[in-house]
């Protein structure tokens, strides 16, 4: 049974049509947390975030507090917010920037205060035209309200936020590629080490890059304390999280769910969330955390929505997007489309990813559209193995960034779970669903 006892931490204004305006934000407790934070020592604010054990909500799930502590002794730094939400079927940050931009800004000012940073950038993907306008308007209103700019709310703390539009490139969600784009270059991920922008970030200076949802949690954490946040959820997965549910369900949408306390079955079937599959069809498979994640079958529906719980079963909660395939969905077509995406979005720096993604996409295409050969199945797995040796989870990496090792996830899952469907395509000379 789904549980609904947890408070809405980041989506509390979901029912208001004007949730993006300053007046609504102020009426619903906005900027109270910031005033409270400005009365605390910066490291005390950071300690609350540490106590909340807030895991980054971008995809990698790295603890935000630890990311910050790497930076705390560095004198000059930037805060960059990653709003380049592009992982297919992920649309939770879209909700947050368009519907609650002041919550994001308040979170950014709190984080900047904790880190003692005076310049922050909010990087939003360029396709969010309305989101860009809403966040820019909210930034303007925040300056006018005294919540941004020089001597915020009469304190000694000053901060500028610049809203920076991307221009259409999935890879810019990778934090070092995002920094390159912010420096006005092609979005090429940087060679590691150094692994973290906290060491060498924007303009070579220490930089923290945090996801939109991570930032949006901060006002609540400051208001209620890190312990109250950590009391929600279980184990390492604390608090609530936004899940973007898509695919063959009756009610796709963004749902705020307490971590671990609910399962994939709750999210997909509960009437308050997904409401079950369209036409009450049977579920064939689901993707638990964006198309970079290996797939799960119906046997894992009762798995809790927790980072470690999903990792133990060989996948990831990733960006919090769950895609449902029903009994009639063609897994070959779905896999082909996912590999086409990676092939198109590979930045081209590393050979295994650049060449491998295109080769896999072409082999997948011919299986789906006619001309596939039985030996293509071994070829596909071999190509995957060349990109990510051993096809392990977490994946081995032969490339600069994790886009490469994300490619085999769906291919390997689909072939191992639905080999017969691939064979049926090959024997049929194309897609039997057509």
């Amino acid at each position: 049974m789904a549980t609904f006892s947890a408070p809405k931490i980041v989506s509390s204004r979901k029912d208001f049509d004007d949730s993006h305006t300053l007046s609504r934000y102020l009426e619903t407790g906005g900027y109270v947390a910031l005033k409270k934070a400005l009365g605390m020592f910066p490291e005390k604010v950071a300690a609350e975030v540490d106590a909340a054990s807030l895991l980054g909500r971008g995809g990698a799930g790295f603890p935000a507090g630890r990311k910050w502590s790497m930076l705390r002794r560095s004198p000059i730094s930037y805060l960059v917010v990653n709003g380049d939400e592009s992982e297919p079927a992920t649309f939770k940050d879209h909700y947050l920037v368009e519907r609650d931009p002041h919550q994001l800004i308040e979170g950014v000012v709190i984080a900047a205060y904790a880190l003692q940073v005076s310049q922050a950038f909010i990087f939003l993907r360029g396709e969010f035209a309305l989101g860009l306008e809403r966040v820019q308007q909210a930034v303007n209103d925040a300056y006018a309200h005294g919540a941004l700019g020089s001597k915020i709310f009469g304190s000694d703390f000053s901060l500028d936020i610049v809203v920076h539009p991307g221009a259409g490139a999935y890879i810019c969600g990778e934090e070092t590629a995002l920094i390159e784009a912010l420096e006005g270059k092609r979005g090429f991920p940087r060679i590691k080490p150094p692994f973290f922008p906290a060491v060498t970030g924007l303009y070579g200076e220490p930089t923290v890059v945090n996801n939109v949802e991570t930032m949006s949690n901060l006002p609540w954490i400051v208001n209620n304390g890190g312990a109250a946040f950590a009391a929600l959820g279980e184990g390492r997965s604390t608090g609530t999280r936004l899940f973007a549910l898509a695919g063959r369900v009756k009610n796709p949408g963004v749902y705020e769910v307490e971590m671990v306390k609910n399962t994939f079955r709750d999210l997909i079937y509960d009437p308050q969330f997904g409401g079950g599959l369209i036409d009450d069809k049977k579920i064939k498979a689901f993707i638990p955390g964006g198309v970079s994640a290996p797939w799960f079958g119906p046997d894992l529906l009762d798995l809790p929505l927790g980072q470690d719980e999903v990792a133990e079963k060989g996948s990831m909660l990733g960006s919090g997007s769950v895609v449902v395939l029903d009994e009639d969905s063609c897994v070959v077509r779905a896999t082909w489309r996912i590999t086409k995406f990676f092939s198109r979005e590979s930045c081209g720096q590393c050979t295994p990813c650049r060449e491998g993604s295109g080769w896999i996409e072409r082999a997948m295409y011919r299986i789906e559209h006619g001309g596939g050969r039985l030996e293509d199945l071994d070829l596909l797995l071999d190509l995957c193995d060349n990109i990510s040796p051993g096809l392990l989870w977490p994946p081995q990496q032969t490339t600069i960034c994790v886009l490469g090792p994300s490619i085999p996830s769906s291919v390997n899952s689909a072939i191992s779970m639905f080999r017969n469907e691939f064979i049926a395509h090959i024997e049929h000379g194309g897609c039997p669903h057509d």
Partner: protein, 206 residues
Amino acid sequence: MSHFQNDLRKRAEDLVALYPVKRSAMLPLLHLAQEQDGYLSEEGITEVAQLVGTSEAEVRGTAAFYDMFHLEPVGKYVVGICTNIACLLAGGEELLEHATKKLGCAVGGTSSDGLFTLEETECLADCDIAPVVQVNHRYVRTTTPDAFDAMIEEVRDGKRESEIPSHGTLIRVRRSSGLQAPREEIAAQRATAQAAREARAAKEQK
């Protein structure tokens, strides 16, 4: 003579001033150049190169990396239809196929009246209303062929102009001010805060 007309040059200079390093303004400036010309013209690229202090080749090379920048003229309205996983499961391919007929052009092409350019896009992060359609990066939320056709007619008749500006215009809300946090003061503050932090840390260690 500036290629950027009216207040565009001023807006461009204001943007450059927001960044510690000029080149950071590259993507915002390319969006501005596209706002004026509808695509990245030679003159637009030259102007951006001059504004960020780099070569035209660098600007062109950077722009070519990003899907939203067009190096050739496009229609007044760029229609993007997503066929990625969530939209695929909701009939995105079929809607894209329908759009080629409605607009009378292939994917990547422009309608004969020059008004519409059709693109197959990757995920646009609005997957609960799939298949996702954007016109000039505004979500129009038409998921059926009939709704799509009606929307196209409205756009053609100029009924959606307030909501969907011409291609290239991305952010209509202007930033209200330049940077306000005083730089020297911040440097001094940082030094004071650093000293205070170290003093507190030393105290805690005792």
